[in-house]
Amino acid sequence: MEPKDTGEVTRRDTLIKIGLGSVAVAGCGAAAFGYQFLSPNVLYEPSPIANVGKPDRFPLDSVTPDLVAGIYVIHAPEGFYALTATCTHLGCLTAWKPDLGIIACPCHGSKFNRHGVKIDGPAPKPLAWLKVWVSDDGDLLVDRSSIVPAEQFVRV
């Protein structure tokens, strides 16, 4: 038999509301907790700052790939700069082709010149210029996590 609808709030209605409210609060808490749990607080990844050695390692007008760091160190007449070797299309490691004087991606055929400007292929953006500076010991340091505007040369 259905209870008569008298417009009164019954004890059962109230308890159902409290129950559903508790479940909703617990659900939100579990979602927040789950997100925080899945997002690592400490990463044991290599430092973004790479030490590439003394500037005189790099002859004038040279492009030197560092495959471990995933960067190119370029010594241009205007000064030093570093490009990321990670393709801006889908993140493959590009390769320097000395005979053609270009940077080419093996995955989907993007090509860049030595300033990181795209010549050909699907890459949506030029290769990023990375922050370069000289340490107190006279070594060239490259911060792979810090992108600087293009044509920012470092004179040593």
Partner: protein
């Protein structure tokens, strides 16, 4: 009368032990056959009766059953491969090579796992095309089609997560490219990539996460969804036969068993 194999089986099915396991009783009456299906935890997902037409090869090309067969092979070989595989950066590639060259029958199990995985993806697509072009996705089977689409996604994620585990160059760059495709999702993309990989790149955390997804989370999801998918075949009126599903009076069959 000389003893026959059939007679031997009939004797066995009358024993106390057999009757304690299978409660449906012996005999070949329709009732006993129906009970044999209905009272079995595995078989009861299926109907106790089906149209003869739905058992014909042409009705389904057995594509769903073949997909299940590849899934069972993948589960069996996958569990065995887990006994020799450590999901850690120094060991993963070497363990994969050990499975190929050192472990007895390792190369057989690995190749069986790999080819069954390819076959499963192919069969899932073939099954869906068959269902689509026959119109078997239409009501009352529309929700089972939706479950099938989710099962397709689970199959593809199983394929993708398994691809990283050999930890070779192909695996590394395939997952790098796939993760970067994911980061193209508007607003949430980069965060989703970070959570999936457990870091900023494909490294130790990504290997472990993909291992857990591949060996535990996705197979469990697949088993639950497969069970619902099979049970829905019965609930939605049995396998689609292409014949008009009307009763003797010409009105549509009610499906609410």
């Amino acid at each position: 009368m000389p003893p026959t194999i059939e007679g031997y089986w009939n004797d066995q099915r009358g024993t106390k032990v057999w009757r304690s396991v299978f409660r449906s009783g012996t005999g070949s009456s329709t009732l006993h056959r129906a009970l044999a299906v209905q009272q079995n935890v595995f078989l009861h997902l299926a109907s106790v009766k089906m149209r003869r037409r739905s058992l014909a090869f042409s009705a389904t090309w057995y594509l769903g059953t073949l997909t299940l067969a590849t899934f069972l092979i993948l589960t069996g070989t996958g569990i065995l491969l887990m006994l020799y595989y450590h999901p850690s950066v120094p060991q993963a590639y070497a363990d994969m090579k050990d499975l190929q060259f050192v472990v007895s029958a390792g190369i057989f199990l690995r190749n069986l796992h790999r080819w069954s995985a390819h076959a499963m993806v192919f069969l899932v697509f073939a099954h869906m095309f068959k269902v689509f072009y026959r119109g078997a996705y239409r009501p009352p089977r529309e929700f089972n089609w939706v479950i099938g689409v989710v099962l397709l996604l689970v199959t593809l994620f199983l394929s993708y997560t398994g691809y990283l585990l050999p930890w070779d160059q192909l695996a590394f760059w395939a997952i790098t490219v796939g993760a970067n495709i994911m980061s193209a999702v508007p607003v949430l993309g980069r965060k989703m990539r970070f959570l999936m990989l457990g870091g900023n790149g494909v490294n130790a955390n990504a290997l472990l996460r993909f291992y857990v997804l591949h060996c535990v989370i996705l197979p469990l999801a697949a088993v639950v969804l497969i069970a619902v998918h099979f049970w829905r075949i019965r609930k939605d009126g049995g396998l689609y036969t292409g014949q008009a599903e009307t009763d003797a009076g010409g009105s549509p069959v009610q499906v609410n068993e």
